[in-house]
Symmetry: D2
Subunit: 312 residues, 4 copies
């Protein structure tokens, strides 16, 4: 399976249960369909399996184009034993309304689903089932599974298309999401040891402790990227939990640690921040290469290094 | 009611139902206890009441020391008709386990609560009720109210102390949160027209569109703060929903728009960003004044303005 | 004489003696030809006349395209009673070789001139009079006047074309300068009180004390210009004389103090530096307008000020 | 001669004639007193001897605490074949008034000296010989030598103490300079090949082409120093001679190219500027070590390099 980002006899895990968007994302990874896939109940549990050597890698949602970063994932990969993102998948977020055989729209008074899914289908329900009430579930897939198990708390569920496929529930309506074009980005997280090769269109993820709480502290970090022409595609501040206003910055940047400008920025960051964690360099799902000016190219860095070396 | 940040015959609203931490926060506002208080089912609904003139102001959670920013609030105050934060309250997050009379620990097999509350009491349950399962609810207060209404889905609920007080449910255990010292910051949001006076220990909240997606774009924004010695106490990137990686920055800074250095930073931002929204200047709950260097004081700004004025 | 930058019954002064490039520059100022013009022996003496009210203004060289800034002028305008540059003239530096009637090239063994003029005609002499020796003079005009007075220290002088015209000495060779295209910039300096109107192509001259001797101190000054899109056309460090490495920066910037971006940069500088001196805003001789981005225009500054004013 | 910064059978040269402050500076270099020393008539001529292999090194004035940078030296070392500064000497500027035997103060009507020396002794002459006129000379030493040769153009000369010693002229007054404490910094310039060892208190001299003429261009250069905590002890803009306002920056920084932070700054500069010239790293005459923060130490750079290397 030469295209697969892994070669392992260990199973894979994902944010379950079966049928979630996360499993759909995992199935897009070359080779994953043929491997054992174990659902985990949350991000921390999935990564615990990886850290313990019980799973080779875990697929987790990291960012949604509507909801933003996924705190549980961002926090779980930034603490504890070091891990590396080795692959990324972007999946369109599209919802279906499912129900057991025999249930029609007219029979639905309550709908089970995850609160996020409910929030993202407000317009469709406002128009088609304005009187339906929401019963919260831990995941969209869990709500669907409850229907299979004969729950009487609700008559239909909002879930990912994959769940309908896996469970055989009837699809009463498809594409019911309010925001057409919404996507979720998922990452496959493994133990260190398998840095993917640079492809020219890569992403690097970091977790950086805020150096100090004074005007310009964040700028001092960002300057390390800007001065090497390294663009940030995502920056999130996550609380450390120590006190209100104390943050760790979760950052995605365009490029690979084997790119000279990225390596140089990381060296600069390592000097000015108390703590920085490298969470991996991996190919971008959209294969979009960054714009690199000549003076930030690998060649420019090499020339500069040679010039100084000769003078020293 | 001279200390109250408002003078209105309209009711107040808050993220309900009754007994939430949000209502507890609202009750800390001088004068709020004597006013009509209407619960809202979510942040958008609460602000809709304010915008429609049906409520004078809405109390909403904006930031938690463990979970970070509250996306629903951040997004709802940044879009639509302009609003202003006029007051802030910080409330310790402490949970109690409640049950109807007659129920004891030994009788509990399922516990109803909001997923966040469940996540923040994992250690206590691991030790005292390791076999209890979680039934998700839309809020901690909703779970408690379900007990009053005789639900048989669970026998106990995790909720705020205020709920126990209001409902008369028995407190089986108090202080069961894993993170002692966790706090949530709440803000009271009204229509423009009532800018609180500067106190010397104020906060200003802004929503700023990212100017452009290139290396240094975020730095160009932050430079406007740093060059005037304005410290940021919170910065969050929230997706605009247009496409992955397109953000609005939600920012809290130390100071009041009537402080010269803050006004000057806002003027600079207005020039360099396509869109900026002022969400209010209001007293900090912790009454902590910022450190201001002499060259960033109001006097320094006035002297500079006079000097240039005389030369022109 | 409506185009003249002055209206005064006082005489003008210039770096003499008569016939220097400086007098040539002064004669280019509209109206100056009709006024009394008094030579001064050096920059300090010329400005002393202005400060004492004995002359309306002094014309002095400030910058040469080959030699750089003119220290005597830069230092004299930066210390003592405040003065303002009100006009600028750029004059091509072209030298002629002059001698009394009857003297031919073959008769010349020594040449009198100012050391700078000698340095800038090395190639011509190397080719045409390789054996001629140099006799230093205090100015090119002084050397020519010595010939008139019958000196026997040298037989010819290198000077400005104006001197040949004024003295009637013979021109043996013209255009003998090594660097075709060299120019000198001259400024007319008066007492405060007559700020020239903005023309859209102006220059502003400042003298700025170095704020502090640490990495980034100079950057903190330059940031005030860069953050408002104000370009510097000249920056020179001049020793304060206190100790080696202690400087005042002499700066020319593109724009007029009545331009909003320039005024804002000056306000910023006034805050961050211990001492700043405004030396005038005046039309550029080359009438070249600066490039101003929309967000640095007067309109952008006005819009920003109105926005903040309305919020306060 | 182990302390000497050179080991050569070639002679040394200096800005002559004999007895100048420059020769005094050269004599302070360990070992120089025992070597052949050839005067040169100007900086360009001195460096031509070094470049041609006729002299091992040239001593030249580079900076004066009153007059600032010495343009002739700055320009001559920045153009043509590459050279390196290998030693620096700081000499107090103190003048004496000398005359042949038999001449007394009362006999003096004209004084020969270099215009700079005349400018720096104005106060003494104003008080003691207010009627004396100035006869310009090419150097202070040249004026003294003219007295020896029996000139009748002036009766006394202002020169360095060394000239009095070498010529045997009488010293009529000593310490006649207006600015007590003025010093001149001299540098010894050789061909590449002999980089002095770091001492912990070093200086590095660079010549850097301005990258581009837009707001912030100079800042982009300075940022390379500031971001590594490298302090500049001198910055001068020298015209390139191409057109008014086109500069090369002559810069002294605190540190040695073998210091990691300096090497890193040079690598950064090499990338962002079209042209940069390294003019040497050499011990500071004042032996003053720079302040280096822990995150800019050699260790911090090594740690950062190892961290990134391990990740790659």
């Amino acid at each position: 399976m030469t295209d697969a980002p892994f070669d392992s006899s260990l199973p894979l895990t994902f944010l379950g249960p079966e049928g979630t968007f996360t499993e759909a994302a995992l199935l897009q990874v070359p080779g994953a369909g043929a491997m054992l896939r174990i659902p985990s109940t949350n991000a921390a549990a999935a990564l615990a399996k990886v850290r313990a050597g019980e799973a080779f890698a875990a697929m987790l949602p990291i960012e949604n184009s509507i909801e933003g970063g996924v705190p549980a994932t961002l926090d779980a990969i930034s603490k504890g034993m070091e891990l590396r993102i080795i692959h990324e998948v972007v999946v369109p977020v599209s919802f279906v309304l499912v129900a057991p055989a025999g249930v029609e729209l007219a029979n639905i008074s309550s709908v089970g689903t995850h609160p996020h899914a409910w929030a993202q289908t407000r317009e469709w329900f406002g128009e088609h089932l304005p009187l339906a009430s929401h019963v919260p579930a831990n995941s969209t897939a869990a709500a669907a599974h409850s229907l299979l198990e004969g729950t009487d708390a609700f008559q239909a569920a909002v879930c990912a298309p994959l769940v309908a496929e896996q469970t055989g529930l009837n699809i009463l309506a498809a594409g019911i999401e309010d925001n057409m074009g919404a996507v979720t980005r998922f990452v496959l997280v493994a133990r260190p040891g398998s840095l993917p090769e640079p492809t020219g269109a890569d992403r690097t993820t970091l977790s950086i402790a805020q150096p100090d709480d004074h005007p310009g502290a964040l700028m001092a970090l960002l300057e390390q990227f800007a001065s090497r022409g390294v663009n940030l595609s995502r920056i999130e501040s996550r609380p450390t939990g120590q006190f209100l206003g104390h943050y760790v910055f979760s950052v995605d940047l365009e490029g690979h640690i084997r790119d000279a400008r990225v390596a140089d920025a990381l060296r600069g960051l390592h000097r000015v921040t108390a703590e920085i964690r490298f969470l991996g360099s991996y190919p971008r799902a959209d294969k979009q290469p960054p714009l690199i000016r000549p003076y930030n190219s690998d060649t420019a860095f090499e020339d500069a290094a040679h010039w100084v070396q000769a003078l020293r």
